[in-house]
Symmetry: C2
Subunit: 387 residues, 2 copies
Amino acid sequence: MPIPVARHSLMREMNEMAVMTVVRQHGPVSRRRIAEVTGLTKSTVTVAVQRLFSKDVLMELGSVTAGPGRPERLLGLNPDAGYLLGASIDVAGFQLLLFDLEARVLDQKRGVFDAKASPNEVLEALAQAARLLRQQISARKYWGFGVSIPGIIAPSGTVIHAPNLKWKEVEAGEYLRRQLPGPLYVVNDAAAGAIAEYYFGNALTSEFLLYLSLGMGIGGGVMMGGNLLVGIHGAGTEVGHMVIDDNGPYCRCGRQGCFEAVASLRALTERAMRTRDVRDWVGLDHIIEAFNQDEPWARQALEETLHYLQQGITNLANIFDPDTIVLGGPLSRFGEYLRAQIERRVNQDMMIAGHRSIAVRLTRFNEFTSAFGAGAMALNTAVTTRA
Amino acid sequence: MPIPVARHSLMREMNEMAVMTVVRQHGPVSRRRIAEVTGLTKSTVTVAVQRLFSKDVLMELGSVTAGPGRPERLLGLNPDAGYLLGASIDVAGFQLLLFDLEARVLDQKRGVFDAKASPNEVLEALAQAARLLRQQISARKYWGFGVSIPGIIAPSGTVIHAPNLKWKEVEAGEYLRRQLPGPLYVVNDAAAGAIAEYYFGNALTSEFLLYLSLGMGIGGGVMMGGNLLVGIHGAGTEVGHMVIDDNGPYCRCGRQGCFEAVASLRALTERAMRTRDVRDWVGLDHIIEAFNQDEPWARQALEETLHYLQQGITNLANIFDPDTIVLGGPLSRFGEYLRAQIERRVNQDMMIAGHRSIAVRLTRFNEFTSAFGAGAMALNTAVTTRA
DNA sequence: TTAATTAGTTCGTGTTATATTTTATATATA
DNA sequence: TATATATAAAATATAACACGAACTAATTAA
């Protein structure tokens, strides 16, 4: 029963986090400005910054002088302060990244599997690869490991259900913690996407962010005021099985007209196969290429899919009322056209057009969004607890 | 930019709120148990309780002895500590309640209007009635006034848009604050419903509550860990215009197949008129009576509506993953049958049946839920700031 | 040079949660 | 009945903390 209470030790951490947030969002900033934005006094900021210095997560970036008075001394993140391991697992395999606090990749590995690979095989290979990458940095600068999985994950790190991977009750957290000592997080892939966009991506200053992972399934992740929205059972924001067409096609979950039954990569591909009248699986690369060359079958397949995407995303915009929506996953590769069409419809069809405006953006991390976000899970605790 | 920072003055308030929460949820409790539940030390609890004593919001309710050792002295809410004014405005008029901290009504007033009444007329009559009720209690024990309105409300209290009332850009907050000095809150009706259920109703211990107001429109309110979910533009949880049937009937918002176009009281009534083949408006009382007497037309109308209710609510359960859903509004008068049918379907059709269970309950406040909740808006600040 | 201006630090103060000690009130047992 | 034991709550001492005021630092303008 986590009733929020005040503890002295938490206060310092809260201030340090607030300072970090301002530095992260507003680039190099002076102490004065940090005090202004957070509402803390100058003296409190001084102390918090000193502590963050001693942890090596902040550094001075020279001073800037504008008009009379003592120049401002700019503070910035020290990207070399620590390194994160982030991985994302999906049907095809895993992506694993070793990156710094500015999301610059030092090294990466990829694992490829066929659909028959058991959870244990996948996790074993991932742990092996992670150990190799981890050796490249000093133990002191290793801040943690995060793994994203497209499924429902209990707080302990157990994968309760990941339909696309066909995983059920896999104790991924426990296993990986044994294999790789140190902070370890297992997290839903769309939730990881939201974290990635908030910490490194295209939603740094968002107060209320909705990230959508548009792939074979559709997942959602929400960051509110810097906190991830997690449901009571550990299932974050399962938007993929929102019914948006009561008489629509059957979904693999058994219901009809689920969002991901009509608007996912799977739905797009099936439409492409139908409009082209072929029986073979049509790859996404192929559809995108044909779409860019304005071939009718590809255009029609996308337009139909887009309609449902617009419906579903407008639904979610009405439900959550976010300031920013970021699109990731394979479908986001349709790029600016997709983004603009969705942004237009969302802002047009909100309950009160005009009064609200929601920015729709594309992820800047391509297929790596979830891996970055999973790694970023270790950030908060690392910054506040070290040294 | 509300970056959370630590302030000394806030810490005390946090502890006091935590203590109040435990007392509210667990009935009469000892200090020891409060310390246990909150994780605070016994001494901290002692201090917090003393402060709450001096504010008169807590009182001792005798002691209980079980086994050896000093008996526990039970603490409970002092219902007489303060009184709240709560009102709800809808198309028919307003309900106004004066009630104590245990939601017992001291007095109430009702305002009736026809559809042509201007916002100013309604607000003027409401302010008048509120002043009368307020006179019945001492100024010291008046804790505040909350008004719920079915629409989107800016933090300032301005009603941005309330389609059913046909209000737009009405500065209700400013007006009422002038008329009635003291704490004043304007809040969405479904949000108020969630607050009412959390503080006084059937979701006292819920960590993640979804309240649904099922009336001419459908509204949603979410309480997470004791905090109301509010979107970035002040539109809480506008679930009514979630499209759940892409080819469904047109909604008054212009889109097709919105939740409230197929599952609201309006939709039910229209179905009843169709199945009975009459042109006159059929009242809800009449439908409920007919349904209870098992008349086919009424049963059919409800079953159709229920289907869409189940679809929409399952969607929301998947999206939010709450532990409790409370149903309010006129449609909730179908009672246990409705509740059971929805609970069954929601728990059956969740992403992973078995692993999650969601309690579906009915409001216990009938048409007064929103009024209680609106009034309860004043609770937190009153408890922490007085004396 | 000197005054004015702005940024950042130092230090004293009051508030706070916590740990420790003390007091209060019961049961169990010889 | 006296004594030991167990538990709850209060009192007291302590250390951490944010804050405000005074102070120092580093620049421009005159």
